[in-house]
Symmetry: C2
């Protein structure tokens, strides 16, 4: 099976491309490399020194004999997109190619517009390209658990059956996204749902939780294959950031009370979830939604776990409660269904002390690369 990974130079995309290649899929990576450009603009760097994409792919070929095709360009450039698809002939397209940071989208108007234009219009291009040339191709699109917000009822997987005034229907689950980035993903979900309905496309929307960890079997094979690990206030995410903060002796930056509960998963589960989705494609015309996380934690709980794991390694870890730069509920109900991927065979890696040890040790190894001025949040939701 031929799988094209859009955004295959990124954190989840890179790990996924190598994993699928290792599993015997014919893999292509399509990426504009704009994320590397944004890093340069922000003056931020991944904790880990990531090699240029061509060097990474050459090394992968040397090590495994497996070739990964490369298409460098922007899906907002429609002729480029259609040419790349025609050349690669995908059976599945895995779409990680969106601006993925909530704080980035909240920097200012320009970044909000950039995020929604890039994500929504790029995805719209992809829908048209599939409709025109690859109507049977399975679109596996990364959404986010953040689309749901924090409703006071259980979160289902994409749809909810509602009884109202004596009648009943199953409707798209109501969304309450919390940033212009999360909103872009909600807009995408609606557009994809419609495209499946009118054109008979097949799509799986993976509403992913916060991914942690850095090593997969493949990215750990060689220094040249190392994955990115973001710790800055814009692109870094909760648990990864905490481990890096602990490694350099910086207090853990918990926003507000830390009662925000979120779904999380190990990056080794991300890559497996993608494989499960493409190995079990959606039906024609079906817009399928999977909630892609394995465990629920509050941000405060995560900080305490890192504190404890750090102490076991001899690190003195403090926890700081910063004024929350976001507008969000800090104490709320949160319970989400995540059985679709488990039913397909996902066997989760649960967060344990040993994983935290490994991530803390990894962070410690590269800690001299940390630029402390990027650790504190600079972007506020209230502007």
């Amino acid at each position: 099976m031929r799988a094209l990974v859009i955004g295959g130079d990124g954190y989840c995309g890179w790990a996924t491309a190598l994993y699928l290649s290792n599993k015997g899929y014919e893999v292509g990576i399509l990426d504009s490399l704009v994320r590397r450009y944004w890093d340069a603009q922000l003056g931020a760097e991944t904790l880990t020194p990531i090699a240029p994409i061509r060097q990474r792919l050459d090394r992968w070929y040397e090590l495994t004999g497996k070739k990964i095709d490369l298409f460098i360009g922007d899906i907002n450039d429609y002729p480029f997109l259609t040419n790349a698809l025609r050349q690669f002939q995908p059976d599945a397209v895995v779409h990680f190619g969106e601006q993925r940071s909530a704080p980035f989208s909240m920097i200012d108007r320009e970044h909000a517009v950039l995020t929604q234009a890039n994500n929504v219009l790029g995805n719209l291009n992809l829908l048209y390209a599939l409709k025109e040339d690859f109507p049977d191709c399975h679109l596996v699109k990364l959404g986010t658990m953040g689309e749901y917000g924090t409703p006071n009822i259980d979160i289902e997987e994409g749809y909810i059956t509602i009884e109202h005034k004596g009648r009943k229907d199953t409707l798209p689950y109501p969304k309450q996204p919390g940033s212009f980035y999360h909103l872009s993903k909600v807009h995408d979900s609606h557009n994809i749902h419609f495209a499946c309905k009118i054109w008979g496309l097949r799509a799986t929307d993976l509403n992913q939780g916060i991914v942690y960890g850095v090593l997969t079997e493949e990215t750990g094979m060689d220094e040249m294959l190392i994955n990115r690990l973001d710790y800055d206030g814009v692109f870094g995410t909760a648990l990864n950031r905490f481990c890096i903060q602990a490694a350099i002796g910086h207090p853990l930056t918990v926003y507000g009370k830390g009662g925000q509960t979120r779904g999380l998963l190990d990056i080794r589960d991300t890559v497996r979830c993608i494989e499960l989705a493409i190995a079990n494609p959606a039906d024609k015309g079906q817009f399928r939604v999977f909630n892609q996380y394995t465990e629920l934690f509050s941000v405060g709980d995560l900080a305490q776990m890192v504190q404890k794991a750090g102490a076991d390694l001899g690190l003195k870890v403090e926890i700081d409660h910063l004024e929350n730069p976001r507008v969000e509920l800090e104490e709320h109900y949160f319970n989400a269904v995540n059985t679709n991927l488990l039913d397909l065979g996902l066997q989760p890696h649960f967060l344990s002390d040993s994983l935290l040890d490994s991530l803390l040790n990894f962070a410690t190894k590269y800690k001299d690369r940390v630029d402390q001025k990027h650790i504190l949040p600079k972007v506020t939701w209230r502007g």
Copy 2:
């Protein structure tokens, strides 16, 4: 009170601008005039000969002594937008300035992208402009009843209280829009809701039904003030189109079985609803939704009503059931709440034979301007 009507050169916008001016509001019109350009590109013209915007406004001033400010430019041009707002100093912004045709958005990829970029990003600019300079200004945004689609349960006004697994919450009403245009309005709703939440903006989303009629007290004052009336397959809407078809002896073009039920309202009610909304602003931080229609009809019912009214005027009116170019349910449940505007004092003009007579006579007066090749639908949803 100072009200800026974005899209004030259009069908609803023009009628609204004159109505508010007549009622004593200080009115400004902001319009890019791009709709006139699209008409030229499509080779389509309004049934009625509409004058250039400056001539219209000069005539209005001659007749009433009331001045309407004019800002010609695109809200996607942020410096233009902020300059216009700073110059006008609005207390309320009425936002009619979006691409409003479902078929236009479904012509091809370029038109889908244009529609979502123009509508969503333009509206995002407006949210930022209000946040920056006019955080207390009331945004009155035109949505559409088409955002809801045709759920099998009653449609509430923007929100629905759901009991689920023993818990309860009031959440945004789930949307099932039926074109890339309708999707753009759903995206807008989510963006506005979020902006109210994080920045404390105040907004009213008017989910409007299909508007019919052409004469308001103000547009009927003088030939130079005449409103546009679209009859073509792209921008024309159901009842207006049927009356024009009847006037020229063309069979009424019912799509499919004609069982599609929709909310409708008279254009005289549109302008009154806008006034009610701005006279009773939303609270700070509130995202309020009103369903703006007065009656429910099926498309087939509308055709029969026009047939009967035409017969009374001596017209022989036939009804054609065309293959439906859209992907939509043609037989479905449809019941929507619309009490918010009634509670504020709306006294609807109900659709009656006399209104149809008046609209048919109006259409007959201008029937020599009809270009028959624009009547049949050319855009299909399946592409």
